[in-house]
Symmetry: D2
Subunit: 293 residues, 4 copies
């Protein structure tokens, strides 16, 4: 397939490479072109503008930082909507707001274009290994057409529903659950440590009994090791994610009290100088709040 | 070994039977004797009083409802402390407060008796299958002596530390994590449903990606099915557990904001008539609070 | 003075009338002109467009619903910024975001115009009686020029600082304190009622001892009377206000845990059908959550 | 009247003196007798035991530190219940749990004695000036008999109901409202300061507009001055009070989310070394959490 790939960050770069390796004709674009050089060396086409990348593509994947970046790339003059062929598909993989996803659906539909929302779960290592989980939503036929794309970047695709924004709701709920798990781990490890239980033994017990899921293993290890730097995912990105979850919930009059607790703690962590730490450093805040060193 | 087993509830009965089946000489006691009859038929000795059960035992296991019951059985006239032989071991498996566990340690030590704290994780089915997880804390030699006991009732024993109350801290932290997981699942499933995502598909996605642990699978299924009745574990037991966790934390000046949220929701669930439902029905409260029927 | 007044809602109409009564030459504008008719009868000039109202004015007061309305009136083509004379003052009395207030300051300054932020405290009765409290911020000389305006609409003006947005911060903090007071009253009255204390006697005790301020008296009476309808201030306006407070705090990395609690309860109240009730009906939610009918 | 007064702390000492000054025959008792010496010099009788103080008294007032002290003084051998004459009245002024108040009512009734619950509002200066507010509950005739007592110690007595424990509920609700007011002031002052608003001007605005009650004035001044030491009321007493409020609410299945927030912050303040500060130093915690020095 002719694929355009927009956004070559920690996640986008390995995703684009995997699409190329799977035999697709991939043209990439990135705001700073230098990032594209290593892909060019592999034989990937590099476009100087979004328009050049998008024209002629059957599928355009966007993997950008936030609402601002996606909105600019998709809806401004010279952007995706202006250049995408009728019936071609824009697959949005970024973590964006439900509201923007709804707007993209409407704008593309208006132009006879297709829109699929397909945010991904996994950290950069998973992206490199083509082991991402894809939460996809959109028209059934469109999802079918995108299957080779999803096969090339992920280990499994889940259909969340026919309305594209549902995949974004799913993504935000997933991140909400990661953040609340970090919060609960942080609080309980602080309590256990204060009594004198070793953090590693605590996590070992949990993850070998009822809590043997990656989310407990990964973050339990980071918290027990106090390995918050360098950040895999910076604190301010946690704020962004919890803000998006709260906004999605507010739009349908739903309270998320556990998210409010997380949000308050992320803001406090930021105010107390943890900006450069991993978002799981809310556990460091919990430890400090417990009076631990 | 000569073992006394006190408390034949949903958990205690299968635990006592497994000890008998493993070849130990078991004498049981229960507040209402009728519960002991089916064990008597299997050849287990039944004692009419705690004193009769405890005298001559090398190890006494207690598996009772709460602090009140354990304190009465252990410390009142005619109780364990009064009748336990020097150097024999009281193994407390109940979910009790850290404070009571500390008191038991002190009372038994004063009398030249041994005390091991060994709360268990698992529901009645796991107890029947001898698949409990045992979180044990106490003197190393005592734990060694108890090994055959733990082997007979559980699939694995974890040593939490030398101070017996640490096992109770671990147990309360584990229950705290179960309750916060239920809370987060309840909130996020309510949000997803409000947008139109099917609850079963939501849980299916989660438990096949980052959240593939028993705690997410079991409670995700209950919440998606809205299967809160009959209760596996009643709402008021959830209140007891979160109260114990908060008390253990308060004793060492530690705040547990996530536990406060859970506690508030359990109280609200009780006030709004969910007393007979499973403790995971805080998810039903979350759905009602989201305006879902 | 030549004064333009934009926005003739429950608050704006009496404020405009008081300016006219104080002897100023007032020209009013409102999105729906019918609201202006009773002022026209009193001899107030009515403009058909913002431009007509603003041209020639020394001071323009805006008292509009929200950020959206203020931004449209001030910054769009044909709006205040385009038509305000150099050195004339835009006095923004609306409850708007700190971010918009900063933007207005910057846009007016750019054009050689003056900007004063002056949100007001008080309900419509206070506006009618010229008893509003004005929280004003801006350049000292500008505030001096506005003094006759503030004298005509309020009982007292407080200078909050030289940066206009500080008055908005003050306003949002004031509304935050009203909302948290309502929350605390609601929770405590529910508790007292559950024990059998009469709500009126409860409020009587409080407001005659340590809590004798208007905020306790007004809302204590509403809650004790369960007088939530007709709404003086609808629930969704409470959501707007708490959202603005949280956003202002988030912009400077400050958590407001008490505001998070209020926000969660307002959303729950909305989801459970209290949209048309007064914002103090979070106390009705507290009562329902306590199991009171 | 013949009055026994038990407990000569910061509050009890001036209360006992005011009863003496009002012409009553007062016999005092205190755990450490030295405190009684200055009263003895004024002609007050000093008893060496509770029994000596209580025998012959028509009314016994107790003003002691907590549940533990009141329970010991009232219910142990040699205590109030054992020595109080039939039909004489025990007036409990201490801040105690609703549960203990219920127990006292039951124990005194069983012995043909009378019990009135009459916790007081006010700090030591108010006690010295006989300006306390008394929240009294009990049998109407008993309250009538106690009127001269209340007149001598307070500026006004409020009848809360016929069941004595209702006065304790009222007291705990009052303290809850003080604590939530401190919390809200602390959060909003931290926010205002972060934007650059002067804390004193902030408080000045509030207390001259909608928030002109003693609770806002007193604590607003303390927080603006950062005058947390010496403590008028130490942090751990705040923890006691919020714990009593939460326990009273839990006993009737009522959640108090605002109290949960306060409790979490008091625990964090204690863990972070604020044990010797005034309970309003949760505002110092709010400032630190906002990144203010």
């Amino acid at each position: 397939m002719n694929i355009a790939f927009l956004g070559l960050g920690n996640m986008g770069l390995p995703m684009a490479r995997n699409l190329h390796n799977a035999g697709h004709r991939v043209t990439v674009w990135n705001r700073t072109l230098s990032k594209a050089e290593e892909l060019r060396a592999d034989g990937v086409s590099v476009a100087g503008t979004i328009a050049d990348a998008v024209r002629g593509a059957e599928v355009v994947l966007s993997m950008l930082a936030d609402d601002h970046a996606v909105s600019a790339a998709a809806l401004r003059a010279g952007g995706i909507a202006e250049n995408l062929a009728a019936n071609a598909i824009h697959v949005s993989c970024s973590t964006i707001s439900v509201a923007l996803s709804q707007q993209l659906a409407s704008e593309h539909t208006k132009r006879g274009q297709r829109y699929v929302s397909a945010p991904v779960f996994g950290r950069p290592e998973a992206a490199a290994a083509a082991k991402l989980f894809v939460a996809a939503a959109g028209d059934g036929a469109d999802l079918e057409r995108c299957k080779p794309v999803f096969d090339a970047i992920g280990q499994r695709m889940f259909v969340i529903g026919a309305k594209p924004e549902l995949a974004n709701v799913m993504k935000l709920c997933g991140n909400f659950l990661i953040l609340t798990t970090i919060e609960s781990l942080g609080e309980s490890i602080a309590l256990a440590r204060k009594y004198g239980i070793d953090a590693h033994e605590f996590v070992d017990f949990l993850t070998n009994t009822l809590f043997g899921a990656p989310v407990f293993k990964n973050y339990g290890a980071i918290i027990a090791d106090e390995r918050y730097h360098p950040a895999g995912f910076k604190m301010r990105l946690g704020l962004k994610d919890v803000r998006l979850a709260l906004a999605a919930a507010e739009a349908v009059d739903v309270a998320l009290p556990a998210a409010s607790v997380v949000r308050d703690h992320i803001l406090t962590a930021l105010a107390r100088g943890m900006e450069d730490l991993d978002w799981s450093a809310t556990a460091k805040l919990a430890a400090e709040n417990a009076g631990l060193k």
